[in-house]
C-alpha cells in the first residue's frame, strides 16, 4: 500500500496546504513541521508558479511572497529534503513548471517526477492539467511509484467523471464549490452532490476549497468524505504573521493549534465504531 493510501487507514485524514517558501525558506520549514505536530496526515506543498489561475487571492499572495523570497523548483526540492516530517507529501503545482523542469539534456515530467520521488514526494496535484492532457505525467508517476491526484469539480459530470476515475490515484480531490481556493464561512451543498456522484469510487475522497474551521471539517467528514484539505485558512495565518511582523515561532504555534482544531473537527465527524455513520455503510 502506498504511503498516501495508508494515511487514510485510521479514520479521516487531515490534509493541510502551505506554499513552500512562504514567506521565506527557513520560516516555511518550521511552518510545515508545525502542521505535522498539529495532526496532519498528508501535507500538500505548493511549488509556486507565476500564473496560478486556480488560486484565490490568499494563496496567490502566498505564491508572490514565496517567489519574491527566491523559491524555484530546484530550491523546492532542497526544501523537501530539508523538511523534518514523516507524513506523505504531495506537490501541488502548475504544469508549466513540470514541463520545463530539467536541463538541456532532459526536460519534462519524467525528469521532474524522478527528482521529486528522490527527495520524498509521494504524489502530485496539478490544477491546470485535466485528465486529457495528463498521459506524460501519469507515465512518469507510474514509473516512480507516485500518485497522481485529480480534482473533481461541482461541474464534473458524466463522461468526465469516468475519465478522471480511470486516471486518479492516491485520493480524489473533491472541490467543495465553484471558484478558486479561498477560506469561506459557508459550506456549499455542491459538496454533497459532488461526493454523491463519486460515492462508488474505490479511492479516498478528500474535500477542499473553503474549509476554514473545525466545524467545517466535521461537517465535511459527516457528509461522507474520507479527508479534508485546508489551504487558505492556514495561509491566512502566515499572511497575518507577515503583516504584524510576528516572530516565526509564534506563527508556527498558531499554525499548530489551527491544525489541531481542524484535525479534531475531522475526527468528530467520523462515524464511531458503535454507531456506524449512515452514509458510510
Amino acid at each position: 500500500m502506498s504511503r498516501i493510501s495508508a494515511a487514510f487507514e485510521d479514520g479521516p485524514a487531515f490534509i493541510p496546504y502551505l506554499a513552500a517558501g512562504d514567506p521565506n525558506y527557513e520560516a516555511s520549514l518550521s511552518y510545515v513541521e508545525a502542521l505535522e505536530r498539529g495532526g496532519a496526515d498528508v501535507i500538500e506543498l505548493g511549488l509556486p508558479f507565476s500564473e496560478p489561475i486556480a488560486e484565490g487571492p490568499t494563496i496567490q499572495s502566498a505564491i508572490v511572497r514565496s517567489l519574491e523570497g527566491g523559491m524555484t523548483p530546484t530550491r523546492f526540492f532542497e526544501f523537501v529534503e530539508d523538511l523534518d516530517v514523516d507524513v506523505p507529501l504531495v506537490c501541488m503545482t502548475y504544469y508549466n513548471l513540470i514541463y520545463q523542469f530539467g536541463d538541456d539534456e532532459e526536460r519534462g515530467p519524467e525528469a521532474f517526477v524522478r527528482r521529486a520521488a528522490e527527495v520524498g514526494i509521494d504524489g502530485f496535484v496539478v490544477p491546470d492539467l485535466p485528465a486529457e492532457e495528463a498521459d506524460p505525467l501519469r507515465e512518469a508517476c507510474d514509473a516512480h511509484d507516485c500518485e497522481l491526484i485529480f480534482i473533481v469539480a461541482p461541474t464534473t459530470k458524466g463522461e468526465r467523471l469516468e475519465r478522471i476515475m480511470s486516471q486518479v490515484s492516491g485520493y480524489v480531490y473533491v472541490q467543495a464549490r465553484l471558484g478558486t481556493t479561498g477560506a469561506r464561512t459557508d459550506l456549499s451543498d455542491q459538496t454533497d452532490a459532488s461526493l454523491e456522484r463519486i460515492a462508488e469510487w474505490d479511492v479516498p475522497k478528500a474535500v477542499g476549497f473553503g474549509i476554514s474551521s473545525g466545524d467545517h471539517a466535521q461537517r465535511v467528514i459527516e457528509a461522507g468524505a474520507d479527508g479534508v484539505i485546508v489551504g487558505s485558512a492556514l495561509v491566512d495565518i502566515v499572511a497575518q504573521g507577515v503583516e504584524r511582523g510576528d516572530p516565526p515561532v509564534t506563527v508556527a504555534n498558531r499554525l499548530e493549534s489551527k491544525a489541531r482544531e481542524l484535525k479534531e473537527g475531522a475526527l468528530r465527524g467520523a462515524p464511531s465504531d458503535e454507531q456506524p455513520h449512515p452514509e458510510r455503510t
Binding site: 502548475y94 504544469y95 508549466n96 513548471l97 491546470d128 485535466p130 464534473t156 465553484l178
Partner: protein, 416 residues
C-alpha cells in the same frame, strides 16, 4: 489544424482547471454547430451584424504616398475603420452572439489596450448582455479613453493590481472569475490564445479580414500580394489577415512583434523588455494552451514590455507558433522607437493615425520594403486615438526623427 483535437502541431490543447472543462466542452460543441456548420443561421446573423453594426467590409486603400516612398505598391487594410476602431469587434461580436445562442447570461472579458474590452462592451450593449471587463492597473492608466468608452457602453471595468498590472495578469484574473461563475458566464477571450476551441474560433471570427482583403487586392492590384505584414500580440489580427493566404505559398506572411527596448532578457529580474514571443520565446504552457511563451529557465512566466499595451503579452497564439516553426510565417520585430517612427510616418503620409500596435507593422515595411516584393498588404489593425496621450509623452521623452515638434506643443499646451 484539426478542430477535433485542438492541436496545431505540438501546440494548443486544453490546460485549464477541471471546473472549466465542462464549459470548454460545451463551447467546443457550440463552435462546431454554430460557427463551422452555421446551425440556426448563426454565421449569417453574425455577418449581417458585422455589416450593419460593424461597418464591414472595411476598405482596402492603395496608399499612394507610402508606395512612392517605398517604390512598391502598399495597400492598407483599414481595420481601423471598423466600429470601435480596431479588428477586435470581429471576434467580440462573434463570441457575444455565440454566448447568446448558447443561452449564457453574463459576459466577462480581459483587455490589454482596451480595444478588446471596448469591442466586447459594444457588442454586449448591442445584444443586451451584462458585461464585466478585467484590465490591468497599468493599462488603465495608459489607455484611459478606452476605459471611459467601456463605461459608456455600460460595462463594469475591474482593475487588476497584481504583478505589473498588464494583460497577462488580467487574463489570469478573468479565468478565475470564469471558474467561479462558469455555469451562466461566457469568457470572451480577446485573441487567438487560451484553451481549444478559442484559438481556432477566434481565428474563424477574424478570418473575415483576409476573406475581404484577398478579393479586394485581386481587384485592385490584379494579383495576390507578395507579402502580408501585420503586428502580432496574441495574434488575432495576425491570424485574421493571414488565414486565407496560408495556402498561397508564394505570399510571404510577416508577423511583426514588439521588440520593446531590447531583445535581451533580464533572467534575474524575470523581465523581458520586449513582447517578442515568436522571436525569442520558448515552448511552454500558459493560459490554457501549449505555445511559445516568454519564460525563465524554470518556467516562470516573465513580465513583458511594449510601448503598445495591445502587444504587451508574454504568450502568443498556438497556431501562429506552429506556422512560424514550420517556416510558413516569418516572425520579425520592431523596437519601441521604430514603432513611434512608424506611427508618425503613417499619420503624416496618409492621414491615417494608426494604433501603436499597427505602427509596428508600418515600421517594419519602412525598414524592409526592399525585401517585401512589389505588392505589399499592410494591415492597419486599429486606429490611434486611444494612444494619443502615450504618443505625446513617449515622443517627448525620446528622439524620434520624424516626429512633429511635440516639445513645444507639450510645453505650451498646444499654442505653438
Amino acid at each position: 489544424m484539426s478542430s477535433e483535437t485542438g492541436k496545431f502541431g505540438e501546440y494548443g490543447g486544453q490546460y485549464v482547471p477541471e471546473a472549466l472543462m465542462p464549459a470548454i466542452e460545451e463551447l467546443e460543441d457550440a463552435y462546431e454547430r454554430y460557427v463551422l456548420n452555421n446551425e440556426d443561421g448563426f454565421m449569417d446573423d453574425f455577418r449581417e451584424r458585422l455589416a450593419d453594426f460593424g461597418g464591414r467590409p472595411t476598405p482596402l486603400q492603395h496608399a499612394k504616398r507610402l508606395s512612392d516612398r517605398y517604390d512598391c505598391d502598399v495597400y492598407l487594410k483599414r481595420e481601423d475603420l471598423l466600429h470601435g476602431g480596431a479588428h477586435k469587434l470581429n471576434n467580440a461580436l462573434g463570441q457575444v452572439l455565440l454566448a447568446k445562442y448558447m443561452g449564457k447570461e453574463r459576459i466577462i472579458a480581459e483587455t490589454g489596450a482596451g480595444q478588446h474590452g471596448t469591442a466586447t462592451a459594444m457588442a454586449c450593449a448591442h445584444l443586451g448582455m451584462p458585461c464585466e471587463v478585467y484590465m490591468g492597473r497599468r493599462d488603465i492608466n495608459r489607455q484611459r479613453p478606452n476605459v471611459f468608452r467601456m463605461r459608456l457602453n455600460g460595462a463594469e471595468v475591474n482593475p487588476v493590481t497584481v504583478g505589473r498590472g498588464t494583460l497577462k495578469e488580467a487574463i489570469s484574473e478573468t479565468m478565475r472569475d470564469w471558474a467561479t461563475n462558469v455555469e451562466d458566464t461566457h469568457y470572451v477571450i480577446g485573441s487567438v490564445v487560451g484553451p481549444h476551441p478559442f484559438p481556432a474560433m477566434v481565428r474563424d471570427f477574424q478570418r473575415v479580414i483576409s476573406e475581404e482583403a484577398r478579393e479586394q487586392i485581386r481587384e485592385k492590384a490584379g494579383q495576390l500580394p507578395d507579402s502580408v505584414v501585420t503586428c502580432a500580440g496574441g495574434g488575432s489580427n495576425t491570424m485574421g489577415v493571414f488565414a486565407e493566404f496560408v495556402d498561397d505559398e508564394d505570399v510571404g506572411l510577416y508577423a511583426v512583434e514588439a521588440g520593446g527596448s531590447s531583445l535581451e532578457v533580464n533572467e534575474e529580474e524575470g523581465v523581458a523588455p520586449n513582447s517578442a514571443t515568436l522571436s525569442t520565446g520558448t515552448e511552454g504552457v500558459l493560459h490554457g494552451s501549449r505555445t511559445r511563451v516568454l519564460q525563465d529557465r524554470d518556467g516562470q512566466i516573465m513580465e513583458s514590455h511594449s510601448v503598445s499595451a495591445g502587444l504587451d503579452y508574454a504568450g502568443v497564439g498556438p497556431e501562429l507558433a506552429d506556422l512560424t516553426d514550420r517556416g510558413r510565417v516569418t516572425a520579425v520585430n520592431v523596437d519601441d522607437d521604430r514603432a513611434l517612427e512608424g506611427f508618425h510616418r503613417l499619420s503624416q503620409l496618409e492621414g491615417v493615425i494608426p494604433a501603436l500596435e499597427s505602427a509596428h507593422a508600418v515600421a517594419y515595411v519602412e525598414a524592409h520594403h526592399d525585401e517585401l516584393g512589389d505588392v505589399v498588404l499592410l494591415n492597419v489593425s486599429g486606429r490611434g486615438d486611444k494612444d494619443l496621450e502615450t504618443v505625446l509623452e513617449e515622443t517627448h521623452n525620446r528622439d524620434i526623427e520624424n516626429a512633429p515638434d511635440i516639445d513645444t506643443f507639450a510645453a505650451t499646451g498646444g499654442f505653438q
